[in-house]
Symmetry: C2
Subunit: 108 residues, 2 copies
């Protein structure tokens, strides 16, 4: 499934960047909404440390997940698709073999 940078045309790179950015924006927006709601309901110090634990884990996860590299992009897109931050329509314009790989991985 390894697809190196040379396998991406300029147009595909542009589409990939945009899709990646969109997924990130969507996930961040959902996260901010969730934190605002949870923080508003904080009543005890345990709730606060629970929020802290959640943010620690989320930050680590986001930093790992949104590390843009062409060799990992197929896997990244499959993951984002599975989690709902990306739709196949965001990837329109990529070569058919890439789309097929992403879709197959997302179903796993």
């Amino acid at each position: 499934m390894h697809v190196s940078e040379s396998n991406w045309t300029d147009l595909e790179k542009k589409i990939a960047r945009t899709a990646f950015g969109e997924a990130y924006k969507r996930e961040v927006a959902a996260l901010l909404k969730q934190v605002r709601e949870e923080a508003g309901a904080i009543a005890e110090v345990e709730d606060l440390w629970r929020l802290h634990n959640f943010l620690s884990a989320k930050r680590h996860e986001m930093e790992g997940k949104y590390d843009y590299s062409y060799s990992a992009l197929i896997f990244i897109f499959a993951g984002l698709l599975k989690e709902g931050w990306l739709n196949m329509s965001d990837l329109e314009g990529l070569a058919q073999d890439k789309l097929a790989k992403v879709a197959a991985l997302a179903r796993m």
Copy 2:
């Protein structure tokens, strides 16, 4: 300034425990209020990671500060007094020499 457990009478221990608990409750209440307000104003992912950094530091600070031990209690009370989480009136009933030490340290 070292005052070991044997230097505290039962009544003083009770007063100390209550004062310690009150300071903790006050600081926690202020912290919860601050986090609820700051979290409500979160607009970007940077704000979120800033909140995470703040909570990491605060948690570390609180765990260190509210570690109840008789040998450190004079210092703990002086610190809490200085930060405003404790008043001298909370310590009423402790021996004069302890009160004097706490007050002197809090002025440093």
